[in-house]
Symmetry: C3
Subunit: 442 residues, 3 copies
Amino acid sequence: MLSAEENRLLTRVGPGTPMGTLLRRFWLPALVTPEIPEPDGPPLRLRLLGEDLVAFRDTDGGVGILDAYCPHRRAHLFWGRNEERGLRCAYHGWKFDVAGRCTDMPSEPATSLFKDKIRQTSYPTREKGGVVWVYMGPPDKQPASLPRLEWLEAPDGYQHVTKWLQRTNWAQGMEGEIDTAHISFLHSSRTKYAHRLVHTAFADPKRNEARKDGAPRLSYQEAPYGFTYGARRDAGDDEYYWRVTRWLYPFFSLIPQVPGAPLVVSGRCWVPVDDYHTWTFGYLAREDRPFQADEIDLIMHGAAFPPRLSWGRYELPDGYIIDTSLPVANRDNDYLIDRQMQREVNYTGIYGANEQDRAIQEAMGTIVDRSREHLGSSDIAIVAARRLLIKMARALEAGQEPEVVTNPGAYNVRAIDTFSGHAQLADLLAELDATLGVARFS
Amino acid sequence: MLSAEENRLLTRVGPGTPMGTLLRRFWLPALVTPEIPEPDGPPLRLRLLGEDLVAFRDTDGGVGILDAYCPHRRAHLFWGRNEERGLRCAYHGWKFDVAGRCTDMPSEPATSLFKDKIRQTSYPTREKGGVVWVYMGPPDKQPASLPRLEWLEAPDGYQHVTKWLQRTNWAQGMEGEIDTAHISFLHSSRTKYAHRLVHTAFADPKRNEARKDGAPRLSYQEAPYGFTYGARRDAGDDEYYWRVTRWLYPFFSLIPQVPGAPLVVSGRCWVPVDDYHTWTFGYLAREDRPFQADEIDLIMHGAAFPPRLSWGRYELPDGYIIDTSLPVANRDNDYLIDRQMQREVNYTGIYGANEQDRAIQEAMGTIVDRSREHLGSSDIAIVAARRLLIKMARALEAGQEPEVVTNPGAYNVRAIDTFSGHAQLADLLAELDATLGVARFS
Amino acid sequence: MLSAEENRLLTRVGPGTPMGTLLRRFWLPALVTPEIPEPDGPPLRLRLLGEDLVAFRDTDGGVGILDAYCPHRRAHLFWGRNEERGLRCAYHGWKFDVAGRCTDMPSEPATSLFKDKIRQTSYPTREKGGVVWVYMGPPDKQPASLPRLEWLEAPDGYQHVTKWLQRTNWAQGMEGEIDTAHISFLHSSRTKYAHRLVHTAFADPKRNEARKDGAPRLSYQEAPYGFTYGARRDAGDDEYYWRVTRWLYPFFSLIPQVPGAPLVVSGRCWVPVDDYHTWTFGYLAREDRPFQADEIDLIMHGAAFPPRLSWGRYELPDGYIIDTSLPVANRDNDYLIDRQMQREVNYTGIYGANEQDRAIQEAMGTIVDRSREHLGSSDIAIVAARRLLIKMARALEAGQEPEVVTNPGAYNVRAIDTFSGHAQLADLLAELDATLGVARFS
């Protein structure tokens, strides 16, 4: 459990909050490339870390992310014309480039110098791995490189990234992600629905047998990128079955894949829209070849991550509208729960894995009251992530910059799923990190 | 009128409020049996007195009402599996019985003692008369018996109970219920729509004639169960026409039925969902035989109480979702008002009696501003109910327990509709309470 | 820009606020006649200046505007029966006339004197020019006459007035109205869609050529009624093209019409529903003859003002319901923006001029943060209107009554669209006010 004050510190991300300040030291995923596909296409409304923004891809293909409101009279730039290297406000024609410079101000006399005094807030972006990244912190602290995550380093098409809206605080999603124990319950018995890409993993009889143990022994070990935690289950007298997950600052997961399965990377990250909404980015990668169209169809079918999605506009409770991918099964339709399915087919009566997660996480309330929890031994990864983030945010308040942002190579790791003898986690990592645990694309 | 402070005291029912504390001394109707029909069936989300709860009927047929949120990580137990004498949380499989004991904790090692330290908040329930009753107060104050209301004591099937959501504070509904004067206006001219069960009453020409007097003389008299109030109208030179209604702590009504009519009990009670929403329970009873299917169809047709209903989920303004019966004609469709009907058929242009009541009560605002009323002589029952409840809540704050909760036999009364000579209320009661005024089933 | 305090002063209009007090010194448009067409017809829910009201047309044709809530027990009078010179509450039959007198109280004994002590808050109304006007200020300050606006003075049928809901504070709409510069951008290229009534103006090649200058020189001059501001554009070497707009206290506009066009008056006013919603009244007038049915059809088609409308009920965010005209293209459907239309046909991809305005104004937020603006030379009319209103509200706080309310003849002006030599605004007005600038109907 957390005190009310710690819970606030963990969850609040607006400008000036300790956690918001920390997150603004990182490059953050903001959009997936297909949301904003073409130069001079329609702009898009978004909110990140509580800030209202507009995104557009300009004539040269670069993506601008600007304060949503024109500095003149606060018209929303979403209504604007995206044309000739800039987004032109529909109200009086003021035009801004991706760097926030006002490049045209036709409502003032041609001789006016007013234009040069105007600078719209803009945030630098990079595009890689199918993701538009944004940096929202102080310019002099901007990390030179994106984190060297394996799925980012993979050749184009070897990774597949999706984004969708979750209606909770970001930490709730992130905690669910690293909660190993729930797999044996919430997601159990879903063999029938799992898509073929992950089918191999679930069809391995030895692993399936071992996974039935819903109370694995958990160990964890800090690392420069965050921490590793391993779930150890007995697999006969002579062997442990280890699933070793990576948690990377500030909110990335790498979930173990079965050796030999097509997927080598699967994970999620949790980017705060505001204190009450989160964009989940789900990323997959294979190392052998690009994903094929029929595989992408399978992925989009909704059995695991992403859920079934529809593109749409969404009005946040305070009235601000964002353009985003929305899960088809959501809290407004009780995630299409089917109690007959719950009795006969799977644990929940809810179809897909992310739908199951969101059903749980969204019904906790948008910010769960962590002062009323009763954590057990299965919760050590959650405890660790909270502790490290709070510690890092407080250190930054005291003037100590987070080291990991200037160490992109630290992200060069892979999650592990393996059988071993009776080694403990530290030994296992010492042994494996040079082989199984190293990302290939890095 | 009430002062703002008195209004607050009367209407606020959350934990720790004076009125909330008082209501928690009583057995309260929580559900009607058909909402939760079968052992091991789907759980149901509810809120009572501002507390978020989950209800389930276990394998043995008992009904559990628990805090909605799993004590582990605050997953909502609505997603859970209702199986083998307990509700199992869908997140990590923790299982709770109807008493809130954690009977299984599969996410922890089998040797763990953690399970025994966990106790989910649970409230005792009883089921009688088609209603699941709950007690939400301190265990040592739990009344031994349910109130001996006539419709509760009647044999199975002799009573019919329904429940539906009203979108106001509970006191607004309760006050409308005991407001005798409005019958002559709001509900007048609805002969055409009254269903056959109550038809006899409204078709009695002598009563109909007497009821045209919209300003009856009201008297009231306190009693151990609450109070009686009588509306007296002239019925010729030699006679009074008396309608004597019972108001029973803390929120039950008994409305007079015409002697010889099939119905012997009709009334409502007003159970707070939270400060802004209320479940109305409507109860009917006959003494001759069980209700037949065609009579129940008539009741459900919506002319009086209940209104036309549809079963559904309802999102409260704070985002919490409850499973409940919802009136088809409601504030979102202006209660299907028909101004032509208002000109030609009835007083309001709204079809059913409860629909008429809700139109009035919901448009007052969720908590009416009682400091701006101008009460007249027709409002003495309302004034009395407020005064008694506020007095009882303040006495409890001062340490004086409400006596009526340990006196279930006090509820053994019936409402009266009769002609008499020129007796006053006290005389009438002295004369009649031993005959007409006594419940048969008790 | 305004300070946060000035912004509050400008925008808050509830009882007791400085701006609310100022607006209550004026006769205000409340309804258009067709909303409340017939004697003894259905009452109508409205809110004005944050006050919840009910309007009804009584048997004699007069319009009553009363506090919405019956003084007895706070039932909403909308449910009432409008009959025989009064609105009768549906709850207990209390009846009120247009002056708020309780003329019948059938729930009390006939001998009761209670009725005479009851007086419902009512506001005086007048009906003229297709508009029901209301005065909500202190009785002793009530202006004797309505403002002598040209469209009000015109014979019946020579004017056409519509009303619709805008989901922003009133000042946002009013500022957009007097913002000359945005015409050249937001509303440009809409020739194709402009309806025939205004077609002449837009089809004049010399004017169209001159209007391409998006940065006209603005001048402004105060006047007893408010102020005049002129937008001056070069029209060849020897000539200026002047568009001279009138802004009249507290929120009326008169927009210049081209000489010889059928329309001689076009303008809007912005009546606060509450701090977050506004009724726009749009008025048009011609001087030659009444509008014909096909012309009204054209006006209602939505190319300019009004937008396409549907009659309906609207639930305000605090739950209060009003009966009003609602724009078909609105923030819930992104004003039906069509990005293809934006690329090929007009500046915004939004069809009508008011739809374009509302898209801009509503997406600013319901109360725009004026402390974050960067105003340029094109914004002098906006700056002037704010300054005059704030000054007048503060003067009234200090005891100085607004003079204009007792000077209805001051409103006897017309906006001007003309070519001239190289005269400045003051000269132009000196020259023209006696001819082009004087309203004919006055």
